[in-house]
């Protein structure tokens, strides 16, 4: 299952345990480099976002057709009514709810299963074949079957989210548990920790960092899948909202929804990172 390592590569670069930062920021390091203070201050991100917005506005004005590229102003002006009418929050919550159910369900099954697979050859032999068969199936490919089996609605979307989140979490749990340094196990044994406790007190904590990588990846996939699933097969939620507005060619509202999707995804990701730092605060990095 070497793909896990590669799956982790889908994460943004800040997660990867990259090479430790070399102390290169000493003054006078690169003589002759241009200094652009505007782009280096603490507000540089804000400036970049604003510039992007400006560019967008220019483009939109050039194109002129609101249904092709809505201008940021009209997008912005749609935000208020959408929020106040509640539709934005209602649908966002609906999406989040489905995602959380699917995500948690996946996590609850995947973490123990992955650990068990790492610890017991038997479990692995039994469980691996069907899982390996199921893994390459893109979550959305299950949609048609699910459509027939359970019809449109919550269940459909939730199952897809489960599938999307399940494998990254499983694989990372497996990886984490199986790569626990032998040394820790041996130390625990020679300290007299009974076998029944080794899993809980040594293996799981040691595997935590990797498990959290799985959580993070799973969250990403889950959020992306929920929106996609709702686009096709649901009657509420942010994905559905996009389809709804597209019907009426209210593209500026569509953009609002898209931005909201992006922000929620980003925020959720940060939350998982925050949680992982709290739980795995002992990691030297």
């Amino acid at each position: 299952m070497a793909e896990i390592r590669d799956a982790a590569l889908l994460l943004p670069s800040d997660l990867q345990a990259g090479p430790p930062e070399a102390p290169q920021a000493s003054p006078g390091r690169q003589p002759g480099r241009r200094r652009t203070p505007l782009l280096e201050g603490r507000f540089r991100h804000v400036i970049v976002v604003l510039s992007a917005g400006l560019l967008w506005h220019l483009l939109a004005t050039l194109i002129g057709d609101e249904s092709r590229l809505p201008s940021p102003l009209s997008v912005g002006s749609e935000l208020a009514p959408m929020v106040s009418s509640g539709e934005l929050t209602d649908n966002a919550l609906a999406s989040l709810r489905r995602m959380m159910i699917g995500y948690l369900a996946a996590a609850i099954v995947a973490v123990p299963l992955g650990t068990a697979m790492a610890l017991s050859r038997v479990v692995r032999a039994v469980v691996e074949p069907p899982l390996e068969a199921l893994r390459p199936v893109p979550p959305l490919a299950l949609l048609p079957i699910l459509l027939v089996l359970v019809g449109v609605g919550d269940m459909l979307a939730t199952v897809i989210v489960m599938k999307a989140a399940f494998f990254p979490i499983l694989l990372n749990a497996y990886l984490g548990a199986s790569e626990v340094d032998r040394v820790y196990l041996e130390a625990a044994k020679t300290l007299g920790v009974p076998r029944s406790q080794i899993v809980r007190r040594v293996i799981i904590p040691a595997a935590m960092p990797q498990i959290f990588t799985g959580f993070r990846l799973g969250a990403q996939f889950a959020w992306m899948s929920i929106v996609a699933a709702e686009l096709i097969g649901a009657h509420s939620g942010l994905g559905y909202l996009i389809v709804w507005y597209k019907q009426f060619l209210l593209m500026d509202r569509v953009v609002v929804v898209m931005i909201v999707i992006g922000i929620i995804g980003f925020v959720f990701d940060r939350l998982v990172v925050r949680a992982s730092r709290r739980v795995v605060s002992w990691q030297a990095s």
């Binding site: 930062e21 102390p23 290169q24 920021a25 000493s26 003054p27 006078g28 390091r29």
Partner: protein, 284 residues
């Protein structure tokens, strides 16, 4: 005396971008290296020896003081100050031969000029027959020899070596030291060498610059009083042992707090590992 490298009051402060910590790596270093000299910088961990080497290489700039090469200020790296790295840094995607030819080829020298020289060097360092292998197929010692050949192929004026033998096993290390001594004897380049190992420093150098603990200052510069041609027999001589012991004491002082080691609580004097045992890597 032709002064190849001159350092005047060189200081280096590292500022860690992440935590804003200031680390004084080097403080007020004055050093002159003459043409054709083999000078070793020796010191405990963290004393800034690698930093000094990198400054001379031009891979980093001093926070204070000046650094001169051939009378001109050092401004960035140049092939004339070639460097040998601890991690070999052979490019894994090229064969050994391609690695060795990399320098001259990058400088657009004609193939007719560098190809035979590269081949000669490969044979010289004992890699004949392995020229077309890739680095990951070779042992550590062989990789380092490859790196050595790569360095020499460029015919640099000054050779900078950053603990090149640290990652090599003890036996190979000794052999490589002797090979280095032999190569140096043949080409007589100016060499600035960094190491932890007292024995290595004494075996290879004309002069040893002993550094203090961080912040790195020059503690003492020792002239190595051994016949210039060093071979394995040199290791067996009395003079060699004497020099090693003396230099070893200097290093000890730095590791254990300057001055007399404290024995107030009656602890026995820590046994001096006998420096006459070949392959004993120096105190760290």
């Amino acid at each position: 005396m032709d002064k190849k490298i001159v350092a005047n009051g060189v200081s280096k402060v590292h500022v860690s971008a992440r935590r804003g910590e200031r680390v004084e790596a080097l403080l007020d270093v004055d050093l002159t290296v003459a043409a054709g000299e083999f000078v070793t910088i020796l010191g405990p961990s963290g004393c800034g020896k690698s930093t000094l080497l990198r400054l001379v290489a031009g891979l980093d700039t001093p926070t204070d003081g000046e650094l001169l090469y051939d009378g001109k200020a050092v401004r960035g790296p140049d092939f004339q100050r070639g460097m040998l790295f601890q991690a070999y840094a052979l490019f894994p995607w090229m064969s050994v031969r391609d690695n060795v030819e990399f320098g001259p080829r990058s400088r657009r020298l004609p193939a007719a000029q560098y190809r035979p020289r590269a081949q000669h060097l490969l044979e010289l360092v004992g890699l004949a027959g392995f020229e077309d292998r890739y680095p990951h197929e070779l042992s550590g010692g062989m990789q380092q020899r490859g790196a050595l050949a790569r360095l020499f192929a460029n015919d640099p004026d000054v050779l900078l070596m950053d603990e090149p033998l640290a990652a090599v096993d003890a036996q190979t290390r000794e052999l490589l030291q002797e090979e280095l001594a032999r190569l140096w004897g043949e080409y007589r380049k100016t060499v600035l060498f960094v190491t932890h190992s007292v024995e290595e420093a004494v075996f290879l150098s004309d002069r040893i610059v002993v550094m203090s603990r961080r912040p790195g200052r020059i503690k003492e510069i020792v002239d190595v009083a051994l016949p210039r041609i060093r071979t394995y027999t040199t290791r067996e001589s009395e003079e060699y042992h004497r020099q090693c012991t003396m230099v070893g004491r200097l290093i000890r002082e730095e590791i254990q707090d300057k001055g007399a080691p404290s024995r107030a609580s009656g602890e026995p004097e820590p046994a001096l590992a006998s420096p006459s045992v070949p392959g004993d890597s120096g105190r760290r």
